[in-house]
Assembly symmetry: C2
Homo-oligomer: 137 residues x 2
DNA sequence: TACTTGACTTGGACTTCGTCCATTGTAGGA
DNA sequence: TCCTACAATGGACGAAGTCCAAGTCAAGTA
């Protein structure tokens, strides 16, 4: 995620105050925010920024592969700035907390040809569910 | 899923026309329906059934472990009556089609203790994404 | 069989998350 | 500095899902 802005500029991204702020918010250690949380934090730095712009910008960042969307069932989608290092997610069924995890092995290789039904499979998403230490206490 | 109704009755479920219809709809080969699709099909058999009842009933079936919820990112949740035989999903990024698949190996075992961060992990959900033969054509 | 009661259903209002669009603003090249 | 195509705005809209007060009914009891 570092030097995200530089990378985007070379791809022809027009650099506006709003986009800069959204990128900065994601770049913090506030990981896995919802769009509304991103908006709330963005507003602290740029009070006039609109929800629509936050959604637009997040959508573009996802398309560009700079940010990953995570659907957790816990209502709103979350945005994960750690899109460059492949990883999966571990989430707490009680409070919705998310952690990035790195399982060993390659789940893609575990899907035999006979189980692919003619699909060209390109991606795997692995979500572990459990109870986090705080909620277990 | 067979004899679902019998199983539910022994668990103290009150058997109403509405619940019976929802169970029947899921029991068909129409797999992975959204709540609205379930409602649409239920209405064909029982015109007065309300959306709220469909949502309630689906929620109960999920709690009882008879039906699994699948979040596909493609907007609405889908309901999978095949909850008794563990499996994962393969879905088409273009049209949203879903298939049940059975990868080899156990992804739970692939998450080392050091990557569990104190969570008690109990479940894994594995989603393969790709393009189905129809959409590739 | 009729009665009773607590569980179930209803439908409409409401909430949340997200998209759309016409208008206004502005980044960055000439 | 000026132009213009791209971006931002905000308010209306839409889809998915939840909530609730009032009415209904399954099934246990007599």
């Amino acid at each position: 995620m570092s030097d995200l802005l530089g990378r985007l500029r070379t791809r022809g991204w027009r650099l506006t105050a709003q986009r800069r702020v959204v990128a900065e918010v994601l770049d913090g250690d506030h990981i896995h925010l919802t769009a509304d949380e991103v908006h709330a934090r963005a507003v602290r730095r740029l009070p006039e920024i609109s929800r629509a712009t936050v959604y637009n910008t997040l959508g573009e960042l996802v398309n560009l592969g700079e940010v990953a969307e995570v659907s957790t069932d816990h209502r709103a989608k979350r945005y994960d700035p750690n899109a460059h290092r492949p990883h999966h997610h571990l989430l707490c069924a009680r409070c919705g907390a998310i952690r990035d995890v790195h399982p060993v092995g390659d789940p893609l290789a575990d899907l035999p040809e006979s189980e692919r039904f003619g699909f060209s499979v390109s991606e795997v998403e692995l979500t572990y569910r459990g109870v986090c230490p705080d909620c277990a206490a």
